[in-house]
Structure formats: structure tokens, C-alpha cells
């Protein structure tokens, strides 16, 4: 029993589990009809633009096979671009090209991607290989984000993104996801990325885990993870909180990145955010969710909600 917790220990610490998340939060607060606002990144993008939320710029949309040939034309003159499926999930099917040289494409790790491979990748996207349920999809071609160098050293072969759980419009928990060599440049915790819990009040790091085990330094760069302070924290909170009005989903995960020039950009929204954020924070999320559920009275404005969250959901570092 050394490796297993008793259920009541987890319950006492307010750890949300998959079944309860599905039934009591997603099932209860996320209306089915609003799902496409987050499941289809093209719609998310259009909604975000309509709501003055900053997003990576859209270079083009590939809806049909023959338009794949237009991609080189689309990205002409750019240093890099990203191709992603509009209906992908879990970061599947995202092709990042950081370097274009003489019509040849290179991935962040320096590997070359032949035009043939790009063609096949987009073709797979259109056939629905990465979409939920295999339904036909469209490919989005987006501009490369110029990442804020503030996180240099905290991430390996990729840039960290910031995940915030927004419940009924209140940001309740946050984390920074840093890719590692083990995660192959991806930001998914189950693949080995480092998850750093963030204080809602300040954007400072609280705790960090890799493969669910606490870590103090980044495994590849040995940077002290306790030193992280996310810049533009208030803007991030504000953007995440206003995503609630935009997509009308009660239980929401927002993924954002910091652009050197433009500041926080909304990358995508998630109607079924995972539970790893609890491990990264070393803390169960249920207490905060119940706190928000217990709030009565009229719906507050975005500013009021952010202020309320900063006041009530602050934590002490746990390194």
C-alpha cells in the first residue's frame, strides 16, 4: 500500500478525480452546444478576435486537398509557422516549423521536414486523423510566436505554456508547463514535461513536478524552478477570466503563451482540462471549486472576479 493513497486521504485534501470532474463539473457546467467554441480552434480564434483577446495570427486555412499546394505561397517571407488541426486534441497533429530556408523547412530540433511530409501531414489533418471521432477537419496555418525570452532555460526545445483552470469565470488554479528532453519538446505532463504550480495571486512558482514526482530544478538545464515569476500575470488572469464570457463554459482550461512583442496570447481553450494541474500545484482543486460554487449574488465583472481570485486563491511556495 506504500504507493497507493487511501481514498479518504485524497478526499480530505480536496483532490478532484476523473469521474467527479466528468460528472459534477464538465457534465454540469459545460453545455454541449458550446463545445464547438473550444473544440474548433478556428471558431475559438474568431471568437477571441471578436472579444479583443490576443491570439497568434492566422496565416491561412486549408480546407481542401488542393489548397495544400498553396502553403508555400502562404508562408512566403516568414521565418516560421505552425500547422495545426482545427479540431485536434491533446496537442496532437501540431507541426511547428521554426526555420524556413530556401524553401526548406526545419523543426525546432533542427530536423528537416520535406514538402512531401508537410503535404502528408496536412492531408492527414483534412481526413480527420487527429480530430475527435475522426471527422473531417481543416488545417490552420498560424504565425510563429516569438517567445518571450523570460523563460529561457526553463524549457528545453520548446516554450512553456501557461494553463489556467477557470471555473465560472474565476481563475482557480494555474501552472506553467515546461517541455523537457524526455517530453520531446512537448508540453504534456504525462509525456514528461515539467509542471510548475503557479500562485494565482502573483504568478510566482509554488511547486514543480515531473512524472508526478517533485523536482527542484529543470532536468535538462538545471535552472532553479523556484525562481519563476510569470510576467504580465494580471493580463494573463484577465484574459483567462474573460474567456468565460466568450465561450460560456463553466469549467474551462485556458492555454496561453507569452509573445515577446504582443504579450500573452490565447493558444487554445479546453472544455476537458486534465487533472495534472493538481499534482503540479501539490494541492487538490476541489476546495477552490467548492468555494466558487458557494458564491452567491450577481455575476461579477472580469476585474472583480480576478481580484476575488487573487485574494482567495493565493498559496505559499512549497519547494
Amino acid at each position: 500500500m506504500k504507493n497507493y493513497a487511501w481514498p479518504w486521504e485524497l478526499r480530505r485534501n480536496g483532490v478532484l478525480n476523473m469521474n467527479k470532474r466528468n460528472i459534477d463539473y464538465i457534465g454540469k457546467y459545460n453545455q454541449r452546444k458550446f463545445y464547438k467554441r473550444v473544440d474548433d480552434k478556428l471558431i475559438t480564434k474568431q471568437l477571441a478576435l471578436a472579444n479583443d483577446i490576443a491570439v497568434p495570427d492566422l496565416i491561412g486555412v486549408v480546407e481542401e486537398q488542393h489548397k495544400i499546394n498553396e502553403i508555400p505561397q502562404m508562408v512566403l517571407g516568414r521565418t516560421g509557422f505552425v500547422i495545426k488541426p482545427a479540431k485536434g486534441s491533446g496537442g496532437k497533429g501540431i507541426l511547428v516549423i521554426t526555420h524556413v530556408e530556401n524553401g526548406r523547412y526545419y523543426k525546432p530540433n533542427g530536423d528537416e521536414v520535406t514538402p512531401n511530409e508537410v503535404y502528408r501531414h496536412v492531408s492527414n489533418i483534412l481526413s480527420g486523423l487527429f480530430s475527435l471521432g475522426g471527422i473531417p477537419d481543416v488545417g490552420l496555418v498560424e504565425g510563429l510566436i516569438e517567445f518571450d525570452p523570460v523563460f529561457d532555460g526553463f524549457s528545453y526545445e520548446g516554450v512553456p505554456d501557461i494553463r489556467l483552470i477557470v471555473f465560472k469565470g474565476y481563475p482557480v488554479m494555474g501552472m506553467l508547463r515546461c517541455s523537457t528532453a524526455a517530453s520531446d519538446g512537448k508540453a504534456n505532463l504525462h509525456q514528461g514535461a515539467v509542471g510548475v504550480g503557479l500562485d494565482i495571486a502573483t504568478g510566482k512558482s509554488l511547486y514543480a513536478v515531473q512524472f508526478d514526482k517533485p523536482v527542484l530544478t529543470h532536468p535538462d538545464t538545471n535552472y532553479e524552478l523556484s525562481q519563476i515569476q510569470v510576467p504580465n500575470w494580471d493580463v494573463l488572469l484577465h484574459t483567462a477570466s474573460s474567456a468565460y464570457e466568450m465561450c460560456e463554459l463553466g469549467y474551462l482550461g485556458t492555454d496561453m503563451v507569452l509573445d515577446k512583442v504582443r504579450g500573452p496570447l490565447l493558444l487554445e481553450l479546453n472544455a476537458r482540462p486534465g487533472l495534472a494541474i493538481q499534482t503540479a500545484n501539490g494541492k487538490g482543486i476541489l476546495g477552490r471549486l467548492k468555494h466558487v460554487e458557494g458564491l452567491k449574488g450577481p455575476t461579477l465583472s472580469v476585474e472583480e472576479r480576478v481580484a476575488y481570485a487573487k485574494k482567495h486563491f493565493c498559496s505559499n511556495p512549497n519547494f
Partner: protein
């Protein structure tokens, strides 16, 4: 938030009706709860003999009618005779022939299955019988005994018990000795009951004992009390009925009537047989043409299809349990159930090996296809065709090698396999071989457990014979769909969060 009460009431109703339907089936149709169960049945042969006197002859034999035994099969054969079985309260077999001469033998065979229902209920209260008219010589003695016993009794039954005791008392009074000199014990018992207006009737019964021949029917008396006929065996001074007694004739008619013959007699021989309880109850259902919902009414081919289909809920239940309660990840939600269905045809080991071979070869071919830059649809189609090739090749090789197990590989659902190969190949490219082994292994593990549940002979018996079980499964699946507790794997995953803060 709306109340969950109606939901739980609904689930409870499903559960209760499922259990009730199953219990009803087992009681009403004697469908056994365990597949190998055996029941004892009795094969009884009645042989009617008489001497023909060169005239038209008609022999009428009463047939058993007893709630304690169901008639599974009966036939009456005798060469040259016409036969008519009359139904109704008094079932009789009537043989007839234009001319009979010399010794005649007629046979009636019946297979009886005990139902365990030994009580004989009276549909309506019998009329109070006319008081028996005693012979002048007997009247005094009889009345003296009757009155003495009547004084000491409280009810029909206690009166009958006391009477039987007196009749069988070894220190007989002179009165009784006189009466018994002209009457049999049974007759005397019946007459004495009727003298006091107690409804009673004489019945004929056959004691079933294995491998007995030339048995006769014995006389018994049924005494009425409180809607029930209670049996008395006066000759042996016993009350109540043993479970190996068949009531052959119970409404006072004769057992055998022969017109146009002499020296008629009937004797019985019997044999105990052991049959499968299930086969017996199926035969019974077929016999009675019961309109109850039973899949045995379907043609054999459809039956065997349904035997497979009805296992799916069990596999689904296993998958729901392993995913919701335990938290095992599988590739494709119900792929494990389909694989398990294939395992049932191939057996587990052959199935596992076959699955791994096909997927491994498929992945190799698929890695070549991925270089060809095909559209997804045509690539999957190509994989399907290749899977068929692989299956054909393995079947052929195993046939040449004389491995008959290999031939069952054709039972794998090919489209499912092709999709599995495609998904795993993508998983391999995106997340590496480790993920492929994890999700593939999880699926095979779940499929194996589902197979073990689905191939269990008890479960196969239950899901086909007790359709109510499926309502219970539905209820369980619905309840698990409301489970908000921790999955077993989450107890490990969130272990770091369990520490006291």
C-alpha cells in the same frame, strides 16, 4: 441541480425486475441456475393386458395427472389399435380395434419430471358427501367407533388421523375386526370419513422405485381440509405424500376399463433417468407451447447468433468497470470487447498470438505505406486489404503445418484490426513505441479479462437463459456512470497529494 432520486428509483426498478424475471424463469420453467445441473426423471411404462374374445374391443386407461410431476413426453403404441387421448379433467388413453382375439398387450409410456409441488390444492370446496349407508350387520359396530373417534377429534384432518390410528391399531377391538373382515382398510377409512360428512376420495397412486417391474397402483385416500387434499396411506398407516408417489387417477373413476375383453389388468414398470436440467426445461417449454419470451423458440442458427450477441453486455460491463472504477486506459473504447469476442472463437492463447502477429505485421506494412503519402481513407483501405492478406497467409501456413488453431484466426474483425493498426502507427510516430505498448497492452489486458468473463460457462448460461440478467447489467452500468469516486489508478497517481498538510 435536479434530484437524482428518480434515477436511483429507475435503476432499482431495473435491478429488481431483472432479478425477478430471472427468479420467475427458474421457478416457472425450472431453468437451472447452473449449467451442468441434472434432474431425475422417471420413465414409466404401463402395460395393459386382456384377452380378446373375437369382438370389437376398447380399452381405456386413465393417465397420470399430478401437479407434483410434469409430463415431459408420452406415447402410446400398440400395433393395429386406434388410439385417442382425451384431454380434460380425466385424461384417458382409449385404444380400440374392430376385432381382438387372444392375449392383447397395449403400452403407454410417459416420462415424468418431478416439480417438487407436493401439495394438491382443491380448486373449489367439495360438496359434503352423502353419509355412507352401512350394512345392517356393520352399522352398530361402525357407529360406535365413528362416534368415539369423532369425540376425540377437532377437524377433518385430526378425525382422519385418529381413524387411521384406530384402524391400524394392533389391539383391534371386536367391532373393528368385524368391519375389517368384510372391508379393506382403505374402504373402511373412506366410509367412516364419509359417514361424518368429511369430503374424502379414493385415489390410485404409483410408487416410483428405480428398475421395478410389474408394479400395481395402490389405493390412497385424500381428505379435504382448508382448500387442500391431504393424502393418507391407510394400508401403511402413513399420512402425507412421499415425493416418489405419482397420483395416477384421482377423481374416483376407474383406472382401466376394457370392453370386449376379459381378464384385463394393468401393470407398471419404471426406470429412473438422469437428464440435463436445462434440456428438460427446454423440452417442457416446447411441450406446453408457452408464449413466454424464450430465445429457444428461434431457429438454431439465430440462437447461436444470439448466444454471441448476449455476451457483449458482459464484456461491456467489464470494460466499464475497468475504465471507470479501476482506470485502465485502452485504445478505442470498445475495441477490447470485439477482440474478446474473437478470442471466444479462437481461444485465448491462439487469439493473443494471432492478434500480436497481425498487428506487428500490419505495423510493418503500415510504416511502408506511410512513406507513400496516401490519403487517410485509401491508406486505411490498403491496411484492411493487407490485413486480409496477412490473415489468409497465416491461415494457410498453419494449415500446412497442421496447426488447426491457426485456422480460427479468420474470426478477427478485420476493420477493427485495420483501425487499430492505423491508430497504433500514429501513436508510434507521435509518442513513441512505449505509448503503443502501453495502450496496446491495456487493450489486450482488458480484452483478456472480458474474454475470461465472457467465456465462463456459468455466465454464458445465465445471459442466454435468464434475459433478466441484462436488466441487472444495465442497472450496474448506469450506476457506474454516476460513480464520482476515485479510480484505483488515481489512488496511485495522486499519492503525492495525500500527505497531511
Amino acid at each position: 441541480m435536479h434530484s437524482r432520486k428518480p434515477f436511483f428509483i429507475f435503476v432499482a426498478l431495473l435491478f429488481i425486475s431483472g432479478i425477478t424475471a430471472s427468479i420467475y424463469r427458474s421457478i416457472e420453467h425450472n431453468v437451472p441456475f447452473f449449467p451442468g445441473e441434472q434432474v431425475q426423471s422417471w420413465s414409466v411404462e404401463a402395460k395393459v393386458m386382456f384377452n380378446g374374445i373375437n369382438k370389437p374391443a376398447e380399452a381405456s386407461l386413465s393417465l397420470p395427472q399430478d401437479p407434483a410431476f410434469d409430463v415431459l413426453a408420452e406415447n402410446a403404441t400398440s400395433a393395429g389399435y386406434g388410439l385417442n387421448i382425451s384431454e380434460g379433467d380425466d385424461r384417458r388413453a382409449v385404444w380400440s380395434i374392430r376385432e381382438a382375439s387372444g392375449g392383447q398387450s397395449l403400452y403407454y409410456r410417459v416420462t415424468l419430471v418431478p416439480t417438487g409441488q407436493l401439495k394438491v390444492d382443491a380448486d373449489e370446496e367439495p360438496a359434503t358427501p352423502e353419509p355412507y349407508l352401512w350394512q345392517v350387520t356393520e352399522r352398530g359396530a361402525a357407529e360406535q367407533i365413528i362416534n368415539q373417534v369423532w369425540e376425540r377429534s377437532a377437524s377433518n384432518i385430526s378425525y382422519a388421523q385418529q381413524l387411521m390410528d384406530v384402524i391400524n391399531n394392533s389391539n383391534q377391538s371386536q367391532n373393528l375386526a368385524l368391519l375389517l373382515s368384510v372391508n379393506s382398510r382403505t374402504q373402511l377409512f373412506l366410509q367412516m370419513l364419509q359417514s361424518k360428512g368429511v369430503p374424502a376420495k379414493q385415489v390410485s397412486g404409483l410408487m416410483l422405485e428405480d428398475q421395478r417391474r410389474r408394479q400395481q397402483l395402490n389405493p390412497y385416500v385424500q381428505v379435504y381440509q382448508d382448500g387442500e387434499w391431504i393424502l393418507f396411506d391407510v394400508e401403511n398407516n402413513k399420512q402425507g405424500r412421499p415425493d416418489n408417489l405419482v397420483l395416477w387417477q384421482h377423481n374416483g373413476m376407474s383406472v382401466l376399463d376394457v370392453i370386449g375383453g376379459s381378464n384385463s389388468q394393468v401393470n407398471f414398470s419404471m426406470l429412473q433417468e438422469t437428464r440435463s436440467a436445462l434440456a428438460t426445461s427446454i423440452d417442457m417449454m416446447m411441450n406446453t407451447d408457452s408464449l413466454d419470451f424464450s430465445l429457444y423458440q428461434l431457429p438454431l442458427e439465430e440462437q447461436s447468433t444470439f448466444k454471441g450477441i448476449l455476451l457483449i453486455p458482459i464484456g461491456v460491463l467489464v470494460v466499464v468497470f475497468l475504465r471507470v472504477i479501476i482506470g485502465i486506459k485502452t485504445s478505442g473504447t470498445f475495441m477490447p470487447v470485439l477482440i474478446a469476442l474473437a478470442f471466444i472463437q479462437t481461444t485465448l492463447l491462439t487469439g493473443l498470438i494471432g492478434f500480436l502477429l497481425i498487428v506487428a505485421f500490419g505495423l510493418m506494412i503500415r510504416s511502408y505505406l506511410s512513406q507513400l503519402n496516401l490519403l487517410l481513407i485509401s491508406r486505411i483501405s490498403a491496411v484492411i486489404i493487407v490485413v486480409i492478406f496477412i490473415i489468409g497467409l497465416f491461415t494457410l501456413i498453419s494449415y500446412k503445418l497442421g496447426l488447426s488453431e491457426g485456422l480460427t484466426i479468420t474470426f478477427f474483425p478485420m476493420i477493427i484490426l485495420a483501425w487499430t493498426i492505423e491508430r497504433m502507427s500514429i501513436l508510434w510516430e507521435e509518442e513513441g513505441p512505449k505509448s503503443v505498448f502501453m495502450s496496446g497492452g491495456g487493450s489486450l489486458f482488458v480484452a483478456t479479462l472480458a474474454y475470461l468473463a465472457m467465456s465462463n460457462s456459468w455466465i454464458q448460461h445465465w445471459v442466454f437463459n435468464f434475459l433478466g440478467i441484462h436488466l441487472v447489467i444495465l442497472a450496474l452500468v448506469l450506476v457506474m456512470g454516476q460513480y464520482t469516486g476515485y479510480r484505483l489508478t488515481e489512488l496511485k497517481r495522486f499519492k503525492p497529494l495525500a500527505e497531511e498538510k
